[in-house]
C-alpha cells in the first residue's frame, strides 16, 4: 500500500486517497471545431507506461483536495508531488 505525501496533510496511507488517472490531459476546443478522432483521443486514449507516470490524486478521506503525483509504475516509488495546474516536473 502506497504512502502518499499529501501536500496539505503530510504522508498518508493510500486508502485515504482516490486516484484520478493520468494527469495533464487538456480538453480540446473550441468544441464546435473538434473532430471525432480528437474527441475520442481526449476521452479514451491514455498512456500506460512502464516507468514514470504522471497522475492525479485526491485526498478524499482528508483535505479532499486534488494534486499531481509522478510515480514509477515499476517500483511504485513516488518521485514528485506537485500542485494542480503546474507542468510536469523533470524526474528520472
Amino acid at each position: 500500500m502506497l504512502l502518499i505525501d499529501c501536500p496539505h496533510c503530510g504522508p498518508r496511507a493510500e486508502v485515504e486517497f482516490r486516484c484520478g488517472g493520468e494527469a495533464h490531459i487538456a480538453r480540446p476546443g473550441p468544441h464546435d471545431s473538434v473532430s471525432d478522432a480528437e474527441w475520442t483521443d481526449y476521452l479514451f486514449t491514455r498512456e500506460n507506461p512502464k516507468g514514470v507516470h504522471f497522475e492525479r490524486w485526491c485526498h478524499t478521506a482528508g483535505c479532499q483536495r486534488w494534486f499531481n503525483v509522478a510515480r514509477d509504475t515499476v517500483s511504485h516509488e513516488i518521485l514528485a508531488v506537485y500542485p494542480m495546474g503546474a507542468s510536469a516536473p523533470e524526474v528520472s
Binding site: M1, L2, L3, A13, H76
Partner: protein
C-alpha cells in the same frame, strides 16, 4: 516409533499439568507444550492421513513449516479446521482431532486408495467415473477429498485491526533478532522499535540450541537480552504475532493471536488482531527452514527434520523416538544428534552424505561408539 517425555525442556512448566482431548482420548501435557509436542510425548506418531491415498502421516517439523500435522480444534461454533498442531498452544480442556481420516487415523478405510494408486495417479481426472452417470459417484468422491470440516455456526469471536508507525521493525526474536533489537534501541532517531515473534515464546532457535552463545547458556543469554529489551523505553515486544506480508513503502502486515491459547470459556476481548505497520526500516531475522531429505516413503510417520527433532527434545522434552538414525549433509545434524542423545535417545547411525565429513563427524562417531 513412539515418543516419550524426556527430562529437561526449556519452555515447558512441569508444575502445571494440562489435560486435553485428542481424537476422543484424554491425554495430558504441560503448560508450554504445543499440541504437537504433547502428542509426541504421549507416544502418538500417526496424527493424520494424506489427502488422496490416505497414507499415514506423522509430524515432520516443529514450527509453521509443518505440512502434515493438520488438525481440527474444538467443537460447535468455536471449531477451527486445518490448524497446524505445531502452532497450537496446549490449554486445559483443548479438544483436537485429526482431519480426513475415518473411522480413525490408525485405521482409515480410505487407505484402500493406496492399493489402486496405479489406476488413480496424480492429476487423475475423476470425472472419468461417468458410467452410468457421474452424479452416482460424485458424493462419495467429494467426501473422500478435503481436509477439515468448516464450522456451521456463526463465528462467536471478535476481531480487530490496529495501525502503527515505527522506525525499526524486527521480525523474529532469535539470536539475530534480539541482537538487532538491542542494537537498534541505541540508534539515534530510532524512537519507536517493534519486535515481533510468531511463537508464544521469544527466543526462536535459542530455545532449542545445544551450544553456548557468547560463552553462556542460550536461555540465560536470551533472558538477559529480553530483560534489557523490556527495560528499554523505545521497544514494543509482540509475541504470538506473525508478519505475513511486506508491501509497498515499508508497510508490513502482522497477525496477532490474542486469545487462541486460552480455553474457549475463558476468552475475553478480541480473538485476533491485524496490524498494519508502516516502517522506516525492516530487519528480517526470520531464520531458515530445514529442507527434508528426499527418499522413498519419507512421508511416513517416524521421519522428521533433524532440527525439528532437536526442538522437540530440547525445548519441549518430547523425544520423538527411542532409536534414531540421523541423516546429515551439514554439521547442524550432529548437534541434533547430540541433543537427541542427551535427551535419552539411542543414536543408531549417522548417515553423512558428504564425501569428507568434518572433524565434528569424528567426535560424533566416538560418541556413538561409546554409547553402544
Amino acid at each position: 516409533m513412539g515418543g516419550k517425555r524426556a527430562p529437561g525442556g526449556t519452555t515447558i512448566n512441569r508444575s502445571k499439568t494440562v489435560t486435553f482431548n485428542w481424537a476422543g482420548k484424554t491425554l495430558s501435557g504441560y503448560e508450554g507444550d504445543t499440541l504437537a509436542s504433547a502428542l509426541i510425548a504421549n507416544g502418538i506418531s500417526t496424527i493424520g492421513r494424506s489427502f488422496k491415498y490416505h497414507r499415514p502421516r506423522g509430524l515432520i517439523a516443529a514450527g509453521l513449516e509443518e505440512p502434515n500435522g493438520i488438525v481440527q480444534l474444538e467443537r460447535g461454533a468455536h471449531t477451527v479446521p486445518n490448524v497446524k498442531a505445531t502452532q497450537v498452544e496446549l490449554y486445559e480442556g483443548l479438544i483436537a482431532g485429526p482431519v480426513n481420516a475415518k473411522p480413525s487415523v490408525d485405521f482409515d478405510l480410505l487407505a484402500i486408495n493406496s492399493a489402486f494408486k496405479r489406476f488413480i495417479p496424480a492429476a487423475f481426472y475423476y470425472k472419468t467415473f461417468m458410467w452410468p452417470h457421474w452424479r452416482l459417484f460424485e458424493p462419495s468422491i467429494r467426501k473422500a477429498a478435503g481436509l477439515g470440516t468448516a464450522p456451521e455456526m456463526r463465528d462467536p469471536d471478535r476481531y480487530e485491526q490496529r495501525f502503527a508507525h515505527v522506525d525499526v521493525l524486527i521480525i523474529g526474536s532469535g539470536a539475530a533478532g534480539l541482537a538487532a533489537a538491542e542494537a537498534a534501541s541505541h540508534l539515534p532517531g530510532a524512537e519507536r522499535i517493534m519486535l515481533v515473534e510468531a511463537d508464544a515464546e521469544f527466543g526462536g532457535g535459542l530455545l532449542s540450541l545445544g551450544t553456548k552463545i557468547d560463552g553462556v547458556e542460550p536461555m540465560a543469554w536470551r533472558n538477559a537480552m529480553l530483560e534489557r529489551l523490556h527495560s528499554a523505553p523505545n521497544i514494543q515486544l509482540l509475541n504470538r504475532t506473525m508478519a505475513f506480508g511486506f508491501y509497498d513503502h515499508g508497510l508490513v502486515a502482522l497477525h496477532e493471536r490474542l486469545n487462541d491459547h486460552v480455553a474457549c470459556n475463558d476468552r475475553s476481548g478480541a480473538r485476533q488482531r491485524i496490524w498494519k505497520v508502516r516502517c522506516g526500516r525492516v530487519i528480517l531475522a526470520t531464520g531458515a527452514f530445514e529442507r527434508p531429505m528426499p527418499f522413498a516413503n519419507n512421508d511416513l510417520p517416524g521421519v522428521m527434520l533433524a532440527s525439528a527433532a532437536q526442538t522437540y527434545a530440547v525445548r519441549y522434552a518430547a523425544l520423538p523416538g527411542n532409536t534414531i538414525a540421523v541423516c546429515a549433509n551439514n554439521d547442524s545434524a550432529y548437534l541434533a544428534a547430540f541433543a537427541l542423545q542427551d535427551a535419552g535417545a539411542q543414536i543408531a547411525a549417522i548417515i553423512d552424505t558428504r564425501p569428507d565429513p568434518s572433524a565434528k563427524a569424528d567426535t560424533a562417531r566416538a560418541l556413538v561408539s561409546t554409547a553402544e
